[in-house]
């Protein structure tokens, strides 16, 4: 048996992050006195350096390595950069929050970097096993992070729930993968695609497995009916962790959906599209309706996240119409744009909660936003940008995200879905606008001045401005999404 030394070059970023994870683990173990800051700064350094490496090794072509288990393409590179970016911001936002509650242990940063590595592996996997390994790596780190505030009962309860349900979902996913293997005889995405294309696969078994794959993907995206963990975990985890949970993993889950469904099972697209249709519409309806009665803003954002992921799926399910693949590129790039837009908005929304919170005060009720305009007009405006954007008010990035997926849906001829989505967005506008209303028209309950480190203030402001600016000029980001997909397909 020959052992061929694999080409490490395409995986340079992953290898770097893995090495840095070890460096962080060892250095924080031995340098206990400065471990907290060291962990944080090494973590940020890793993310920034990884971004440079990813961009530096980026090239237009698709390349494979590690016996075709690893794929390097533009879509993966773009998503990875977005993941570093959102992780870096999330860590920055969360730092003071953790310090205030005395839970900024160096392990936090180690888990964060391991989680990043897991997501990177998911994004670049070309094989079901690597996909699964990446997923577990990310998930295990997340379970630990959710339960990180171990003295808090809610936090540990949330961690427990997440772990059990996540294990169930992993089981379903793995079962689905085994069915696909049984049907096609391979676990490599291109091999699966080849087998399906040649009609060599046992179709009933393949479709049976597909259901379980969908279940696994939907759990990670947090869409109905695999969403039950989302509100509890979002609320239970400390806000800094919720911030991480609600952002980068959505990109990884998007990548997982794209790799599994589009790279692997594109030829049975119409089968998984109908399943996703059910899931997406249910998520949009339930997410928006349930969010209305939530007094807790983290829970509200959790339900809002469910509906946003439903919207994102609308893009994925509009690619193929009666065998016509003409719309595919537009539809998938609209979904990708939606995912990126959601991450940007989500960062700012949880960042705002962190901004208002302080030791002993979580600022997680909608009432805590009352009269924010009087306390800080600028941050009230930032929150207004976020809420408007999430509600899909022109001209914020959220509007164009919704517009482009709806265009894809309409182009695919699913008018009823578009109608449901629009009506539900209108209903959803209620709870976003309620936040704006309490900020501007109610008297403040909490009158304490806002204490936050300068970097949080600056970056959060920049985040808010980005939501508005990308709404005014969404074309660049849209064409990057489209180009990344085009070059990868």
């Amino acid at each position: 048996m020959n052992f061929v030394v694999p080409d490490f070059y395409p995986a340079a970023a992953e290898i770097f992050v893995a090495v840095m994870a070890l460096v962080i683990m060892l250095s924080t173990t031995f340098a206990r006195s400065i471990a907290r800051s060291l962990g944080y700064f090494l973590c940020q350094f890793t993310l920034i350096a990884a971004a440079f490496i990813t961009i530096g090794t980026m090239h237009g072509e698709v390349s494979y390595t590690f016996s075709n288990m690893f794929i390097s393409d533009l879509m993966g590179d773009f998503l990875k950069v977005m993941i570093y970016f959102s992780m870096a911001i999330a860590l920055l936002y969360g730092r003071s929050y953790l310090a205030d509650r005395n839970i900024n242990k160096p392990e936090y940063y180690l888990l964060a970097i391991l989680m990043t590595l897991g997501m990177m592996v998911m994004v670049t996997s070309n094989h079901m096993l690597t996909m699964y390994i990446g997923l577990e790596m990310m998930s295990l780190a997340l379970y630990a992070l959710v339960a990180f505030d171990r003295d808090s009962a809610r936090s540990t309860e949330a961690g427990m729930k997440y772990f059990v349900l996540g294990a169930l979902a992993s089981g379903l996913l793995l079962y689905g993968m085994s069915m696909v293997y049984g049907a096609t005889g391979t676990l490599e995405f291109s091999g699966v695609a080849q087998s399906v294309y040649n009609q060599a696969a046992n179709k009933p078994v393949l479709l049976f497995g597909l259901v379980f794959l969908i279940a696994g993907i939907c759990f990670k995206l947090g869409v109905v009916p695999f969403h039950m963990w989302v509100p509890d975990v979002y609320q239970g985890a400390s806000t800094a962790v919720t911030l991480i949970l609600a952002t980068a993993p959505k990109l990884a889950a998007f990548a997982m959906a794209v790799r599994l469904l589009i790279w692997g099972l594109f030829d049975i697209a119409e089968q998984w599209q109908t399943m996703l249709m059910l899931v997406a519409v249910a998520s949009i309806i339930l997410g928006n309706l349930a969010a209305i009665s939530q007094p807790n803003i983290k829970r509200m954002l959790a339900y809002s996240g469910i509906s946003h992921m439903g919207f994102m799926l609308l893009g994925l399910l509009s690619g193929v119409v009666e065998g016509d693949r003409h719309f595919a590129l537009n539809a998938y790039s609209s979904a990708m744009f939606y995912a990126v837009a959601y991450v940007i908005m989500s960062l700012a929304s949880f960042g705002m909660i962190i901004l208002l919170s302080r030791a002993g005060f979580e600022a997680e009720r909608i009432d805590d936003f009352k009269g924010l305009n009087k306390r800080s007009p600028w941050f009230a405006a930032v929150m207004m940008f976020v809420m408007f954007s999430m509600a899909g008010v022109p001209f914020f990035i959220g509007f164009f995200a919704k517009l482009s997926v709806l265009q894809a849906v309409v182009a695919a001829g699913y008018f009823w879905i578009a109608a449901v989505a629009v009506v539900m967005s209108v209903i959803g506008a209620f709870y976003y606008l309620r936040v704006v209303k309490v900020m501007y028209f109610d008297e403040p309950v909490d009158t304490a001045p806002i204490h936050a480190p300068a970097e949080l203030r600056v970056l959060l402001s920049a985040n808010g401005i980005a939501i508005a600016a990308l709404g005014l000029a969404p074309q660049a980001l849209m064409s990057i999404c489209a180009y990344a997909l085009l070059a990868s397909l």
């Binding site: 729930k161 479709l207 259901v211 089968q271």
Partner: protein
């Protein structure tokens, strides 16, 4: 752009400039500045019109686009002029009467605080009317049509503190909406079936249109178009049953009654139908419709003039009746006669209105004829010019009205169209009625016993037609012992200048306008509508026509009317009162204007309000607000609370939900496989 084109453009733009100056900078340039700039604007327009008139006489017509506004869906929206005999005649009438009214206004409105505003409006009106008549396409026609309507609305409500004025201008606006709706439908049909808004292009397809039926209903297309367009004309030219706004429009100051509601704007409908003669000629049904409506208006509105006591209202009903005559002429395809009457009427009716205004000034803004009498002594110029105007109106031989009205009657006589018998009866009897009410007014105002200067506290305040000034500094009516006096030169000069054409213009222009080739190529009539040709064969010059007129029935009817008026109001003033008592129901019917207003108020206004209330209470408050808005909000809130209940916090339920989800998806797959 040639020099002539620049001149065409100057005609509407000069009054527009005056309107803008007086309207926006009236405070700065002052009262004198305002009237100077607007009068100059209109004078320039008049002078340019005269030059254009000579140019057209020399045979230079123009039809072209000056500016393309936009192109949408195959339609081109343009600003363009069509300058030909009809246009230039209208331009002359409009600018001349407008100039007279501008001058007259200096005297009439001298004490009004809204002086600049008034000048701005009447100049704006002149601009709008010129745009209307000079247009070469339906879009610009519609623009002018609506713009004159708007200015008319503004001017009827000029004294906006008065509830009656507001009521009147709202009424005028609403009634005109009904007409404009038909007009717009007509234009829409034309645009839909010809794909063009340009007159020439549409007329070129007229024969094609005549053969077509409408898509859905199967109605003959051209008839539908013509009737729709004519409904627009009915609104603007106040034909039964859309006439109700015109008498009420007398709430406006007298100069605009003369300019807008007698001489120019109300003739826009007549002008439009004459302009559209290539279309109307191809539909006998539409022509019969026009004929019957016109004849009804001519006679029955004349009756109403008999019982009015307000001097302006008599003239207003007379206007309605005369517009009916013009419409009748259109109906029998005597377009040139209609336009001819339009022109003569513009002069003598403006004269009568301004004369009435002069009387009103002399009477210190008392308009009730029962308080006048014997004014000829005190207001000689007003008296004499009004006499000339009245003679012209009743169609006394050699006066302008004689030629135009007699031509119409002859044309009706010669017509074989359905309804022409009825029309002939109406116009004949109308001659008697016209003469009767005109001279009733003349005798009541200028002759007989002097009834002014008494304490007339006893005379009832009708509210809608007895004050004329904004109820501020004037007392109204003459104080006991006070005598009326002749109006100043700015008032009497226009009277004199208008009296000249009122007397002469018919004599000099009948031959070229009706029987010459002045309107050749502008107005069309088809082979089987030969009324005008027959007339031409019997025409041997204006003198012969007048001499022949003396021996004809209409002349004696008119004389009969004058004699009756003289007998009733000069010799035996008790007779009218006796008749009034004897024929009480008839009098009540006339006094209530055939109950048109009551009917409209109860059926249309009341019905619309009822419908609005049903929609408001039931539709808006009940269905939309109650069921849909609040109901859906309640439903959403309810569903939201229910869905929150599913979130129990129990881990096994969460896991169960996931499994259910997988089963649902599996069912999906099982069903499809």
């Amino acid at each position: 752009m040639t020099d002539m084109q620049k001149l065409y453009l100057l005609v509407p733009l000069a009054p527009l400039f005056g309107a803008i100056m007086a309207g926006l900078f009236g405070k700065t340039i002052g009262r004198a500045g305002s009237h100077i700039v607007t009068i100059l604007g209109v004078a320039v327009a008049f002078a340019a019109s005269v030059v254009i008139f000579q140019d057209v006489q020399a045979g230079n017509t123009f039809n072209g686009t000056l500016y393309t506004w936009m192109q949408a869906g195959g339609l081109t929206f343009e600003v363009g002029f069509q300058i030909d005999a009809l246009t230039v005649m209208m331009m002359l009438v409009v600018t001349f009467v407008s100039l007279m009214v501008h001058i007259y206004t200096i005297g009439y409105m001298s004490e009004d605080p809204g002086y600049q505003r008034f000048f701005s409006y009447i100049s704006l009106f002149t601009f709008s009317m010129l745009m209307l008549v000079m247009s070469n396409n339906f879009l610009q026609l519609f623009f002018g049509w609506e713009a004159v309507g708007l200015v008319s609305y503004l001017l009827i409500g000029f004294w906006y503190e008065r509830p009656t004025a507001i009521y009147a201008n709202l009424k005028a606006f609403l009634v005109n909406r009904v007409g404009d709706f038909g007009f717009l439908l007509g234009i829409g049909l034309i645009a839909a079936y010809t794909g063009s808004l340009n007159y020439a292009e549409v007329f070129a397809k007229a024969n094609e249109l005549a053969g077509m039926n409408m898509d859905v209903t199967g109605w003959p297309l051209l008839t539908a178009i013509c009737i729709c367009l004519f409904i627009g004309a009915m609104g603007k030219s106040a034909q039964v049953p859309l006439h109700v706004w015109l008498p009420d429009s007398m709430e406006g100051p007298t100069p605009i009654s003369a300019l807008i509601h007698a001489a120019t704007m109300v003739t826009a409908g007549i002008f439009m139908v004459a302009r559209m003669s290539p279309l109307f000629e191809l539909s006998d049904t539409a022509l019969s419709f026009v004929l019957v409506i016109g004849a009804t208006t001519a006679l029955f509105m004349g009756f109403l003039g008999i019982i009015q006591n307000d001097i302006k209202r008599v003239v207003a009903y007379s206007t309605l009746s005369q517009l009916g005559y013009m419409t009748v002429a259109l109906g029998v395809s005597a377009y040139s006669a209609a336009v001819f009457h339009l022109m003569t009427h513009a002069f003598f009716k403006a004269l009568l209105f301004l004369g009435a205004g002069s009387v009103i000034i002399g009477m210190h803004h008392d308009q009730d004829m029962r308080n006048m009498g014997g004014l000829w002594k005190y207001m000689p110029i007003t008296w004499f010019t009004s006499l000339l105007g009245s003679l012209a109106l009743i169609g006394f031989p050699f006066f302008a009205g004689f030629y135009s009205k007699d031509s119409i009657i002859e044309a009706v006589h010669a017509s074989t169209l359905a309804g022409s018998g009825y029309a002939l009866f109406c116009v004949m009897l109308g001659v008697f009625v016209t003469a009767f009410y005109s001279f009733r007014m003349y005798f009541l105002v200028f002759h007989g016993k002097e009834r002014f200067g008494h304490d007339h506290g006893h005379h009832e305040h009708h509210g809608d037609h007895d004050d004329e000034e904004p109820a501020t500094d004037h007392h109204h009516g003459l104080a006991p012992g006070q005598k009326p006096h002749e109006s100043p030169l700015v008032v009497t000069l226009p009277l004199i200048l208008l009296a000249i054409p009122s007397v002469l213009i018919g004599f000099f222009t009948i031959e070229p306008m009706l029987f010459g080739d002045w309107f050749k190529g502008v107005i069309f009539f088809s082979e089987h509508h030969e009324g005008m040709k027959e007339l031409a064969e019997n025409f041997h010059g204006p003198v012969a026509m007048a001499l022949h007129g003396i021996q004809s029935l209409p002349f004696w009817l008119a004389m009969g009317g004058v004699a009756t008026a003289w007998f009733f109001y000069m010799i035996k003033p008790e007779i009218p009162a006796a008749i009034q008592r004897t024929f009480k129901p008839l009098y009540t019917l006339l006094d209530n204007k055939y109950y048109f207003d009551r009917f409209n108020e109860i059926v249309f206004a009341g019905g619309a309000r009822l419908l609005g209330k049903i929609l408001w209470k039931g539709g808006d408050q009940g269905l939309i607000d109650g069921l849909m808005i609040n109901g859906s909000a309640r439903l959403v809130g309810w569903v939201s609370r229910i869905s929150a209940l599913f979130q129990t916090g129990h881990l096994y339920q969460y896991a169960f939900t996931m499994i259910i989800g997988v089963f649902v998806l599996l069912t999906f797959w099982l069903n499809r496989a």
